[in-house]
Amino acid sequence: MSPVEQIPAAGSEPMAAAPARPSRATLVNAALGLGLLAFGLGAWAMGEVFMVTLATKVAILAIAGAGLNLVLGYGGLVSFGHAAYFGLGGYTAGILAHHALNYTPLFEWPFLFEGTTSMPVIWLTAMVIGALAAAAIGALSLRTTGVYFIMITLAFGQMIFYFAISWPAYGGEDGLPIYVRNGFPGLDTLDPLHFFGLVWAVLMAVLGGIAMLARSRFGLALQAARQNRQRLMAVGIRPGGVLLTAFVISGAITALAGALYADLNRFVSPSMLSWHLSGELLVFLILGGTGRLFAPLAGAGLYIALEHLLGGVSDHWQFFFGLLLLAVVLFARGGVIGFLAGGKRHG
């Protein structure tokens, strides 16, 4: 087991030499990324529009999982409240589009703003809101560790969930429809293939960004914070600032996924904010292999595939899915990617 495989994200080659051949992890990652693209294109070529939508859903959930992976897989923070950022991103898209489509101003001061249906603007707004929420929640939650951290992130998530339910202006419990999918310059986003391609490109950009972060000075400190905070202090780096920064970036990424998800369904509802979704994101990572760059894609892909396949056989598909999850936790702690690519992620 070479250390390059052991910590693929941290650029372990000490002499900075480029590896002669791509590692197995790289090949598995490429297969996953290109496999999703091929699946979406193939489904479109065969006229299976529903399958294109399913592939789009996988890509979006993988982006949300990638946000969680940054704090959980690299930073070791078990956030059980990432639905908060996902939902906030979704509501950002929904609310901006709602005002634009109804020609009602969102606010009139300091300037008149009637919302927008432009995806780039919506994405940026969603990421800023996700980042701000994560900064506030992270600043308070990071005072705790372990089970307390899990519980306090869950509590914040539930707070936002109940707020959304009880706020009638944007649909409350019924949710908020987006009548026409928001637009992206140069694309027909209502065309399933265009939207899938756009989402796939965003997923690759996000994963590329996380790979870059993981190899940077910041990423080295973040991964050290997961392993040994006392040691990080002893070399002169305060873990708090590193972890909070990761939490903020993570919140922004997951909020971006939420905005895309709202556009996929053309509908936002409080279920995007529910703890079930926080749990699903955790499940993606456990399935895929926590801390592996492509774990969220592998996990989300497997989850959606099983939901589709098992769901067709039995209404109780989640029982069988639970058995699979149990098997992964007991026998394949590295998840799908650990199984395929070899090497242990966590000692």
């Binding site: 070479s2 250390p3 052991q6 910590i7 941290a10 650029g11 372990s12 080659e13 000490p14 002499m15 900075a16 870059m212 972060l213 190899r215 940077s216 000075r217 910041f218 990423g219 080295l220 400190a221 991964q223 050290a224 392993q227 040994n228 006392q230 040691r231 990080l232 202090m233 002893a234 070399v235 002169g236 780096i237 305060r238 600032g241 590193v242 920064t245 966590h346 000692g347």
Partner: protein, 249 residues
Amino acid sequence: MADPILEIRGLSKSFGALKATDDVTLDLRPGEIHALIGPNGAGKSTLIKQVTGEIAPDAGEVRLSGRSLAGIDAAGRARLGMARSFQVSSVAAEFTVMQNVVLAAQGASGVTFRFFRPVMRDEGLAGRARDCIAQAGLSGREAVPAAELAHGERRKLEIAMALALEPRVFLLDEPMAGMGSEGATALGDLLDRLRHRAPILLVEHDMDAVFRLSDRISVLVYGRVVATGTPDEIRGNAEVQRVYLGEEA
């Protein structure tokens, strides 16, 4: 006599009724190894933690090169050149030797919030890390994950990380614990060279090593310094004989 690099003055710390540190005053001069010995529970580790900033003293102060360290946390003190090793080896176990030492060099540089360039290809940090690894005697082991190192090698890794901090003082908490006599001798030789980089405050139970290496020894009993002197003075000190050496030897 040269000015001391590290001064500990009137340091006191109580946990409830227990006086873990009782008015301790000692210093560390350039080029010396100053050993801190005492029976288990004498408060050696508690004293070290107050010096490193991990726990705050109730009274007294710690000065580094004449500067008071009051109000500076452990990370801040590390950046000022206070390099420590832990009683139980404390490294990032999943990282390679190289990654661990680069992390320390990065800490010393004070620049962590850089998000784009790969840190392992930063020749400034990598070069210094390789240097420190060589000085600690770990050359050739750069790519090995810390978890796979032998116990003695992990001790050397901690020394390499301490070196990468551009230390002004070393605080070494039982660096020889759990090492065979051969390993302890080799590590002793390494410490003997390191003292010229920065003086060493050494907590150690291996009395052979302490008496062979130290310029001065302070004996801590129930949180109090009962004697400070050269190894010969300590050997001949009646009270030390009674409370410490006599009991254990």
